[in-house]
Structures are given as C-alpha cells and as structure tokens.
C-alpha cells in the first residue's frame, strides 16, 4: 500500500466510502465516553477547581488546530512536488476543520481564562499565535474560493500554505519575544500537559484520540465531497463540449 495508489480519485473514493461511517462512529463514540468520563467522574483540581473540565475540549482542539495545518502543509508539499491530485483536495478539505478547531480552542480558552484568570483575553504568546493561525486559515480558504480554475487554485494555495507555515512559525517565536518585551509575567499561561495528573490524563487522552479520529473522518468525508465536485465539473464541461459538436 502506498499513497500513490490513492492518487486515483476513484480508488480513493472506493476505499474511503466504507471507512467514513466507521470513523465517525468510533470518533463520536470515543468522544462521548471521554467527555462523560471527564465531566462526571473526575474530581475537581486543587488550584483550578471544576474549571479543569474544560481541558477535555481545549487541549484536543488546540492540538488539532495546529496539526491540521501541519497536515495541510504535508499534503501541499506532496501536491507541489509530485502532483498528487487527491492530496491537494485533502489539504482543502482539512482547512475548514482546522479553522473550526482553532475557534473551539480560542472560545474554550476564553471561557477558561475568564473563570481562572479573571479575563477573557490576554495578549499572551500562545493566545496570540492562535489568533494569527486563525487568520492564516481565513486567508487560505479565501484564496481557494477566489480562484475559479481548480488546478491553479491548488497550486497557489499550496505555495501559500508553505510560505504561510514559515511565517506562522516565525510569528510564534516573534510573539514570545514580543509578549516578554511587554509584560514580564508570562506566568499566566498554564502549561496543560506538564501538570496533568493521571486522573485527568486518562480521559484527556481518550478525548485527544476521539478528536483525532473525528478529524480523520471529517477530512475523508470532505475530500470525497471535493472529488465528487471536481468530477461533476469535468463531466459538465465534457457534456457542453459534446453539445457544441452536435
């Protein structure tokens, strides 16, 4: 099995179609179990009290918000280097999912911040980086929408994704420098993974896996939709040509 077999859209659709319902089923099932476990069966944390329950949503969505972009970067590279058509469409399919994850991470983070820090928003490097990431998703999707020719759009967005990745990375470190320059007490930011005890860790891992499986399911589904869309356009163009000839 190699990814090149699945450069054939027909093969990809045939393989993926039976997987999608399973992936959704497993993802949603794990999510329900993980969230119920986290919500009802974990104790309150010493410092943060019951607000710690937000971790089961915040950390997985933030994790995926970043990794969705990484996946788009890899898919874009595969498309640019080896013209893997399905790969280009998968990058397009992942972008809205990644954007929604970014929004979830920002929203739950704001609620969490309001509860524990007493403020919805601080210009902390982490928070700011996510805001910038959101802008990159926005620009990426807008570029896809703006270009009518699908191959040109795939090429341009792929290069945009690659260049954007470099700048997103740079922005992250620039933001760390910047916030240190502004206010020295960056201790507001609680690093989630470092001080998570086992009680919270186990349901959190479950939720991480659940979000991951759901992400895969969504990307497969949306890629299949994009393939069908492309095929529709191609068939319509062919029919128009046939009509002209008659």
């Amino acid at each position: 099995m190699s990814i090149w077999e699945y450069a054939n859209p027909k093969k990809f659709t045939a393989t993926v179609t039976p997987i999608i319902p399973w992936a959704f089923g497993i993802g949603l099932g794990l999510l329900v179990v993980g969230l119920i476990w986290g919500f009802f069966f974990t104790p309150a944390e010493n410092r943060q009290g019951e607000s710690v329950k937000i971790i089961y949503l915040h950390v997985p969505s933030a994790f995926l918000a970043i990794n969705a972009w990484v996946m788009m970067l890899v898919a874009s590279l595969i498309w640019v280097i080896r013209r893997h058509h399905v790969s280009a469409l998968a990058a397009k399919a992942a972008a809205p999912v990644g954007m929604v994850m970014t929004v979830i991470a920002l929203a739950t983070g704001a609620l969490w911040g309001q509860a524990t820090w007493g403020t919805w928003w601080v210009w902390d490097p982490r928070l700011t980086s996510f805001l910038i990431l959101f802008l990159f998703y926005l620009g990426y999707l807008a570029l896809w929408e703006a270009i009518p020719d699908p191959d040109t759009a795939a090429d341009l967005t792929a290069i945009m994704c690659i260049v954007g990745s470099v700048f997103a990375f740079l922005s992250r470190y620039a933001a760390i420098y910047w916030a240190q320059g502004l206010h020295q007490d960056a201790s507001l930011s609680l690093d989630a993974e470092e001080n998570v005890s086992d009680v919270f860790w186990q349901p959190l891992v479950l939720c991480l896996v659940a979000f991951g499986v759901l992400f895969v399911a969504l990307v497969l589904l949306r890629t299949r939709t994009e393939i069908a869309k492309r095929r529709t356009l191609a068939l319509q163009a062919r029919q128009r040509r046939a009509e002209v000839r008659v």
């Binding site: 910038i132 802008l135 990159f136 926005l138 620009g139 807008a142 570029l143 703006a146 270009i147 040109t152 090429d155 341009l156 290069i159 945009m160 690659i162 260049v163 954007g164 700048f167 997103a168 740079l170 922005s171 620039a174 933001a175 420098y177 910047w178 320059g181």
Partner: protein, 218 residues
C-alpha cells in the same frame, strides 16, 4: 533587471502613478489616531511607536496590487516572463522599485509625524532605522502577495487578508525596536532580528513569488 527597475520607477513618478499616495495615507492615518484615542500627550507619546509602524505598514499595503496588476492587464507580464532575465530577478526589481517609491519616503517622513505624536526624543533615529531596515521586507512579502492575487479580479481585499498575517513578525520586531528606544533600552536585538528577517525574505521570497507568477501565467 535594471531596465525593469527604472521603468517601474518612471511609471510610479508619472502623474497618477501613485507616488506620494502612500505618504499621504500615512499622514492621514497618523492624524486620525489622536481623534480616536483623545488628545492627551502622555497617551499619544506612549503609543507613538506602534501607531507609526502600523500606519507605515498599512501605507505600504495600499500600493501593493499595482506591482503586477497593471503589467498583467496590458500583457507585458508574460513578455517579462519570457525575457532572458529570470523571473525571480524581475520580481526582485519590481519589489525594489516599490520600496523606493513607498518604503524610503515613509522612513524619511516618519520623524515629522513622530513629532506630531510627541514621541520620546531618543527614539527618532531608531524609528528611521527600523523603517529603513523593515520596509524592504514589507515590499518583498507584498510582492509575493501581489503575485498570488494577480489573476483575481478585485483581489485587493484578498491581498490584504493574505499579506497582513505575513507582516506580523516584521511589525513585532520593528515596533519593539522603537518602543525600546523610547524607553531608553538597547535596540540592538530587535534591529538585528529585523535585519535578518529582511535579508532572508529578500533572498527567498523572489523564488516563491516567481513560482506563483508562473502558475498564474500558465
């Protein structure tokens, strides 16, 4: 390459070429800010470095779509692409011309506007230096954005959406250099990093911009 550079400069200085437009925009934004935040000198003095950098960045953005759009419309861009000069060189020359037309005047005019905002006296030199170091990167990144959106009708808004997030690192280091100077701190670190960003951008971005142009001209 030199011919492209000179030609772009001539076009810009000709009537309606847009020279001075960026400068006027810079002036207006900086004048509008006190109306927004109130006339207190202390407040304006504090935010002056940031305001000046953001305004300069927006003024730079204003004329970006002209870099390639006009040549694309009248068909000279495909000709340039088939010219013996590599397309990367053409991109670099055009970005350089954009910088001479916008970045240099902005850097020169910034102290006058800093005066209006009562900026701290020690920061003037750093302001000019940081703008002089940072604006080439702004022009080059902008040229990439302009190349991305060259085939899109009314792509101006999309261009700013794509380019502004890319401006974040330049803005952070540029403005922080001026802020540090205003606080009487050492400005070497942000200026050096700003210079590094500019050098890397000028070296690498022409490749990306030229690749994007080739796709758009296909």
């Amino acid at each position: 390459m030199k011919a492209v550079f000179v030609r772009d400069l001539r076009l810009a200085f000709r009537a309606g070429g847009g020279f001075g437009l960026a400068l006027a925009f810079f002036l207006i934004v900086v004048i509008l800010v006190p109306f927004g935040v109130g006339p207190e000198t202390a407040v304006l003095r504090r935010i002056a470095p940031g305001i000046l950098w953001v305004a300069a960045l927006l003024a730079c953005l204003l004329s970006l779509d002209r870099i390639f759009a006009l040549d694309f419309e009248d068909g000279s861009l495909p000709l340039l692409a088939t010219a013996p000069v590599p397309l990367e060189g053409v991109v670099l020359a055009k970005a350089a011309a954009h910088w001479v037309v916008t970045g240099v005047p902005l850097a020169c005019a910034a102290p006058a506007l800093a005066f209006l905002l009562n900026m701290e006296g020690g920061a003037y030199l750093t302001l000019v230096m940081s703008l002089a170091i940072g604006t080439p990167a702004l022009s080059m990144i902008g040229a990439f954005g302009a190349a991305l959106t060259v085939g899109i009708k009314r792509g101006g808004l999309l261009l700013s959406l794509l380019v502004l997030p890319l401006y974040v690192p330049v803005l952070i280091f540029g403005a922080s250099a001026v802020r540090r100077a205003a606080d009487g701190l050492s400005v070497a670190t942000p200026l050096l990093i700003l210079g590094a960003i500019t050098l890397v951008v000028v070296a690498v971005m022409p490749l990306a911009a030229a690749a994007v142009l080739r796709i758009n001209l296909r």
